[in-house]
Symmetry: C2
Amino acid sequence: MAVYTEVSDEELEAFVAEYDIGTVIGCKGIAEGVENSNYLLQTSNGSFILTLYEKRVDPDDLPFFIGLMEHLASQGLACPTPLHGRDGKTLRELCGRPAAIITFLQGLWPRRVTARHCAALGRAMAELHLKGQSFPHSRPNSLGLGNWRPLFELEARRADEVKPGLAEQLRGELDWLEAHWPADLPTGIIHADLFPDNVFFMGDRVSGLIDFYFACTDFLAYDIAICLNAWCFEPDGAFNVTKARLMLCNYQQVRPLTADEFRSLPTLARGAAMRFLLTRLYDWLNTPPGAFVKRKDPMEYERKLRFHAEIGGPGAYGLEIGPVSAGDC
Amino acid sequence: MAVYTEVSDEELEAFVAEYDIGTVIGCKGIAEGVENSNYLLQTSNGSFILTLYEKRVDPDDLPFFIGLMEHLASQGLACPTPLHGRDGKTLRELCGRPAAIITFLQGLWPRRVTARHCAALGRAMAELHLKGQSFPHSRPNSLGLGNWRPLFELEARRADEVKPGLAEQLRGELDWLEAHWPADLPTGIIHADLFPDNVFFMGDRVSGLIDFYFACTDFLAYDIAICLNAWCFEPDGAFNVTKARLMLCNYQQVRPLTADEFRSLPTLARGAAMRFLLTRLYDWLNTPPGAFVKRKDPMEYERKLRFHAEIGGPGAYGLEIGPVSAGDC
């Protein structure tokens, strides 16, 4: 739940007047997302999202994110598109923060993920990866392999407050990941945060992907690994192999995985679990326990990490290496 | 900021299907209000507010609140109206909570209150009071004079944590209020929480009053007293007599105050300050300091209380007893 910046009516009206979208008839802070302030803006022309970029987003990265959304939308991907003001600009300032108005996407994000959602997600993610290939800019993953150890060291002394022995366990896991991380897989633009609340559906159909503010250049299969963790475990912690199989199978209907990518999935999924474990650990140790914001349990990702470490190979995700047929999906 | 209950897409679609408002195309939690969970619901027919009533609202009071909104809207007051389902019902259950879909009101609440807002508020509040007169139900004010001392006693031992001597000061003030509270002023339906975030404007015109979940039967002039505190002090604590005069003057263009009401205003304003001081004190002492929710400073209301206690009479609000002319407004 996040609205960090209160926008006054005068400031809002002046801001909206820079665009050709009619007059303001309503503007409500949205209780979703944690990085930025988001408002659902209603004007005489329709609904839009007004985003004020808060301090967790580096302003120097904004042209990349905005440019990426424009590129993907122009390629036909359903994702928010920044509006151009009368002066042609997409980014301007509001209440001392960078701000943009982006298009409103229809749909709901799934509170309860079904196998059908996972199937549709697979296709949508592969389309994102293909359409990102022609985007001419790149951005290093600031939460990638090389960033995990420094992030871990920040909280290493306190990690055992969460579970005794956790610090040692994570240090060992980091050693393993650094030694086994794949060196050469297909790279490109990944979303890097494709959790269910960033994917809108109308029924079983994906109606849009949102929140590209972690997007970066990395192994494409790492995005799949993030989704294996975010979509294919049940609330009780059990891995749902049907969801994984449908996600991978439908992904490959659009973009087949190389044998190397497929074999690397368990390692990538361990790394993806480490990435979210570490950021959740940091937030857990730095958010007061009585705080109103819901802290996300880092140990959920410790269990996911162990799952991927213990399986024999990518076959545990429900598919074998090699071409898939539509009949499998 | 408040969304306490997450509504799943299946539950939402089943709920909306009880109404004749088309299909869901979006539903976003609103980061406003602290009592209930509110969603801005968009369907193929338009925009609506979906409210789930959380534990701070007594379910037995809901028919009163819902009935009041319907009554006021039917009298032409711009306020949210509950929708009737296909079965005729306005209240049903969602995620184990009472829930209703209400109409969406256009407009923005003023982040920076101007004298013109106060003038328009005066008229709108008087219209609310007149239109409430024909509502056949009543509800005692559960945060009225008789409730302040018990509320105070809950936190009396800890009040001095906020300011040394505060407990003694409040006890003395309660004695004074109980001894001097007016006995017999015009009563009726009051809003009882008419803060700027509950009044929508389009430009200088009031486009709607919202959030009737404190509405009750009490002295009509007590509502004015609440607004003197909520609208007529500047952020630096200074009382703005122009705002008060315009509010009172415009109120009386619609509903003239009796001489008794006018004379009682400083006492009512002291009481209104006490009411918000006490609930803020309670929340202050029971919300962890690092919590994400913005705690409202109880001492803001201690200063307002002293202002009303120290003025010589209602003339300090910028008007004398007696008829006002439109020229004064």
